[in-house]
C-alpha cells in the first residue's frame, strides 16, 4: 500500500524539492500552497501524514492543524522557520505530532516520517490477543485499552486517539507501574535521540490526559513523577 503524504508549504521551491525527494523514496505526495488547499486535499484523498509549514498566506498553519485534527488521526509534522517556545508548544497543543525546524536536511524529515508512520506497537499486537485488553481504570467506569484492536473505550463509548497518542499510551501501558523518563519516551515513541525536545512528550501527555482522565488537572491514571518522568497507574 502506498503511503500518501501532504506537503503544505507556501514556498514553491521547497515544496517541489520536498515532493521530488519524497517521491524518490516511494511516497505518494500531494502538494498544497495554502491551508485552504490543504484542507481540500485532505477531504478529497485522505492522507497518512502531513508536513505543515506554520507561516502561510491566508489561514496559518496553526489554524490548519486545528481544523485538520478532528478529520484525521494521521500524524502531522510541523516544518517551520519559527522555533520560538510558544510557537512550538502552540503547534503541538493544536494537534501536531512532531516538528522540524528549518534549515533541516531531508534525512531528518525522512527519519521523522518513518518514526511516526510505524504501525502502533506492531510487535506486541501479534503476541497479544484481543482478550489481552488492558483495563486502565476500573474505578471511574471501565477504561479499556485494547492495543490489538487499536481502541480505547470508556464503557461503550470509544475514545479517539491519534496514531501518536495511541503509540505513547501503548508504551506507557506496556510499562504500567514503572516510571518512564521523558527521554526514553522520546526515543521509543518518536525515535528522537538525545537532542530531542522533551516538550513534545509533555504536550502529548497533556493531550492524552484530556482524553483519559475524568479530571485532567488532577490525573489519577497518567501520573507525573517529579524530576523523573511519567508513569501509568492501572487501578
Amino acid at each position: 500500500m502506498v503511503t500518501r503524504l501532504l506537503v503544505l508549504e507556501d514556498d514553491d521551491g521547497l515544496r517541489s524539492s520536498l515532493r521530488m525527494v519524497l517521491e524518490d523514496d516511494g511516497y505518494e505526495v500531494a502538494e498544497a500552497a495554502s491551508a485552504e488547499d490543504g484542507l481540500t486535499a485532505l477531504g478529497r484523498h485522505g492522507v497518512d501524514l502531513m508536513l505543515v509549514d506554520l507561516m502561510l498566506g491566508g489561514m496559518d498553519g496553526f489554524s490548519f492543524i486545528q481544523r485538520a485534527r478532528p478529520q484525521t488521526e494521521a500524524p502531522i509534522v510541523v516544518i517551520s522557520a519559527r522555533d520560538g517556545v510558544q510557537d512550538i508548544v502552540a503547534a503541538l497543543e493544536a494537534g501536531a505530532d512532531d516538528y522540524v525546524t528549518k534549515p533541516f536536511v531531508v534525512d531528518e524529515i525522512k527519519a521523522r516520517l518513518r518514526a511516526l508512520l510505524r504501525r502502533p506497537s506492531m510487535g506486541s499486537s501479534d503476541t497479544r490477543g484481543p482478550e489481552d485488553a488492558l483495563v486502565l481504570d476500573s474505578v471511574a467506569g471501565p477504561l479499556v485499552f485494547d492495543q490489538g484492536a487499536g481502541t480505547l473505550t470508556r464503557g461503550s463509548a470509544e475514545i479517539h486517539l491519534t496514531h501518536t497518542e495511541f503509540r505513547l499510551l501503548g508504551v506507557l501501558a506496556e510499562n504500567a507501574g514503572r516510571v518512564l523518563s521523558r527521554s526514553s519516551l522520546l526515543e521509543h515513541v518518536w525515535d528522537r535521540g538525545f537532542f530531542g525536545d522533551e516538550r513534545i512528550v509533555d504536550v502529548h501527555v497533556r493531550r492524552l490526559r484530556k482524553k483519559l482522565e475524568l479530571e485532567p488537572s488532577a490525573p489519577s491514571t497518567l501520573i507525573t513523577v517529579r524530576g523523573l518522568g511519567y508513569r501509568l497507574d492501572v487501578r
Binding site: D24, V106, S183, F194, F195, G227
Partner: protein, 462 residues
C-alpha cells in the same frame, strides 16, 4: 614643596576649600574681636590709672602745701597702690616712692607734656608687663607728679583672650573641613550611584536604570543616563533582531538548496566533473547550514529564554548521553574520585548535550581527536574536562577562542561554523557555570566546563 603633586580629588578639593573658608572667616572674626577688646581694655586701664594718679597727685600737692614738708616725707607717708610706682620731680630732683623699683626714666614718654604744663598719659615697655605712665604738673608746689602702673592684669586678660580666640578659630576650621567633607559626600552620592550603574552597564547588564528622583538638580542627569542606557539597549536589541531576521530569512532557501542538492547527489548520470561540483556544493552548503543553525541557536541562547524545562541528572550520565549521541565510545568517560556517586546537576539536557557535542567536535577538528572526558566532583561544583591530544591552545588565545567567529592562531576556516565554542560558553553561562580552556597534562588542550551541583538528587525540577 618640590616633588610630584598628585591631582586632588573633588572631595578633597571641596573639603580643603571649606576648611580654608572657615579658617579665613574665623581668623578675621577672632582678630577683630581681639583688637577691639584690646582697644577697649587699654583705654579703660588708662582711665583707671589717670584717675588714680590724679587722686594721688592731689594728695601729694595738699601734703606739700599744708605742712611745707619735704617730698620724700610725703612719699613715705602715702602708700602707692600695688604694682605702681610714684615719682615726683621738684626743683630738678627726682623722688621715688620705692627704692627698689625702676628709675624715673620710665616717665620719659610723658615728661615733655608735663614740662609744657599739661597732664600726659603714655605707655612704657621698660617694665614687664607694660606699664601706664601718667604725668601731672603741680605748679602750686612747683613739682611734677608721675605715677607708673604696671598693667599686669591687662596683659593676662589679653593673653587669655588671644588663646581662647585661637582655639575657637582652630575649632571652626576643623568644623569647616568636616562640613565640607559631609557636603561633598552628599553632593557626590548620586555620582556614586551613576558610577556603579555605569559599571553594571559596561558589564553587559543593560537593564540597569537609575532610580527616578524628584530632586530637580539630579533629574536631568538621571534622565539623560537612563535615556542613554535605553538607547544602548535598543541598539543592541535592534542588532540582535537584525541578525535573527537575516538568519530567519535564510532558513527556507537553505532548506530548499539542501533538499534539491540531495536529489542531485543521488543522480547516477552525472559526469565525473559534475559529481565533483555537486560534492563541493554539498560540503559548502553543509557548512553554511551549520553556521545558520548555530547562529539561530546562539540567538536563542542570547535571549536567555529556557527552551526546555531543566531536569536533574548526573554529570556522568550527561556525558554518557553526549558520547552516545555523537557515536563515541562510552569508555572515553572517566571520573574522580573513583568511588563516588554521580554528582547531580540541573540542566536543560538537550542544550547541554549539544554544548558537550560541540566540545567533542572541537577536539576532533582542532585538537587531533578527543582523548577522554573526565568528570571531577568538586563538592559544590562538578568539572567536566574535555581533553584532546592536539597542539594545545596558546595562553594568549585561550579566552579569545570563545569569541564569535574567532579562530586560533590564524588557522584556516575549518569545517566548523566558528560559533561552536560561543554556543558552549553561552549555554554554560545560562546554567550559572563557567567554561575555560587550559592545557592537558602531557600535551593537548583541555576544555573545562564547571557547573554547580545540586544537593537535592531529585525533586528540584518537575
Amino acid at each position: 614643596m618640590t616633588g610630584v603633586r598628585r591631582k586632588r580629588g573633588l572631595r578633597s578639593a571641596v573639603t580643603l576649600a571649606f576648611a580654608l573658608g572657615a579658617l579665613a572667616l574665623s581668623a578675621s572674626l577672632a582678630l577683630g574681636t581681639y583688637f577691639s577688646a584690646r582697644h577697649f581694655l587699654v583705654e579703660q586701664r588708662e582711665r583707671t590709672a589717670t584717675r588714680q594718679a590724679f587722686a594721688d597727685g592731689a594728695l601729694v600737692r595738699d601734703s606739700l602745701l599744708t605742712s611745707g614738708a619735704q617730698v620724700s616725707d610725703v612719699l613715705g607717708s602715702i602708700s602707692a597702690p600695688a604694682g605702681s610706682f610714684i615719682y615726683v620731680r621738684r626743683h630738678g630732683t627726682w623722688y621715688a616712692s620705692s627704692l627698689d623699683g625702676p628709675g624715673p626714666e620710665l616717665t620719659t614718654e610723658v615728661q615733655a607734656a608735663v614740662e609744657d604744663g599739661s597732664a600726659g598719659v603714655g605707655w612704657t615697655d621698660a617694665t614687664s608687663p607694660h606699664a601706664v605712665v601718667v604725668g601731672i604738673p603741680i605748679p602750686a608746689v612747683d613739682a611734677e607728679y608721675y605715677e607708673v602702673a604696671v598693667a599686669d592684669e591687662l596683659d593676662r586678660t589679653l593673653r587669655t583672650l588671644a588663646v581662647a580666640l585661637g582655639i575657637c578659630a582652630a575649632l571652626t576650621t576643623i568644623a569647616g573641613a568636616g562640613l565640607g567633607r559631609t557636603a561633598s559626600r552628599r553632593v557626590l552620592a548620586p555620582l556614586r550611584d551613576v558610577t556603579s550603574a555605569a559599571v553594571r552597564v559596561s558589564g553587559g547588564d543593560v537593564t540597569t536604570r537609575l532610580k527616578d528622583t524628584d530632586d530637580p538638580d539630579l533629574a536631568a542627569l538621571v534622565g539623560a543616563f537612563n535615556n542613554m542606557v535605553d538607547a544602548v539597549h535598543d541598539r543592541i536589541e535592534r542588532d540582535a533582531r537584525f541578525a535573527a531576521d537575516v538568519s530567519h530569512e535564510l532558513r527556507t532557501p537553505v532548506t530548499t538548496l539542501t533538499t534539491s542538492l540531495s536529489l542531485l547527489q543521488r543522480a547516477t548520470d552525472l559526469s565525473p566533473r559534475s559529481t565533483r561540483a555537486v560534492q563541493l556544493m554539498t560540503d559548502e552548503l553543509t557548512r553554511f547550514r551549520r553556521a545558520l543553525e548555530d547562529l539561530v541557536a546562539l540567538g536563542r541562547l542570547d535571549a536567555g529564554v529556557p527552551e526546555v524545562r531543566p531536569s536533574v541528572l548526573g554529570a556522568r550520565d550527561l556525558v554518557s548521553q553526549a558520547l552516545q549521541a555523537t557515536d563515541r565510545p562510552a569508555a572515553l568517560l572517566s571520573y574522580e574520585p573513583a568511588r563516588s556517586s554521580d554528582p547531580m546537576i540541573v540542566v536543560e539536557r538537550p542544550q547541554m548535550v549539544r554544548a558537550l557535542a560541540n566540545l567533542f567536535m572541537n577536539a576532533d577538528i582542532h585538537g587531533g581527536g578527543l582523548t577522554g572526558v573526565r568528570v571531577v566532583d568538586g563538592g559544590d561544583y562538578v568539572d567536566i574536562q574535555v581533553e584532546d591530544c592536539g597542539p594545545g591552545v596558546p595562553p594568549e588565545e585561550r579566552s579569545r577562542i570563545f569569541e564569535r567567529f574567532a579562530r586560533a592562531g590564524g588557522e584556516k576556516l575549518g569545517t566548523g561554523s566558528g560559533l561552536g565554542l560561543s554556543i558552549v560558553e553561552q549555554t554554560v553561562r545560562n546554567h550559572h557555570g563557567d567554561v575555560w580552556c587550559t592545557e592537558r597534562g602531557g600535551g593537548g588542550a583541555a576544555f573545562v566546563v564547571r557547573l554547580p551541583t545540586t544537593t537535592h538528587a531529585t525533586g528540584v525540577a518537575p
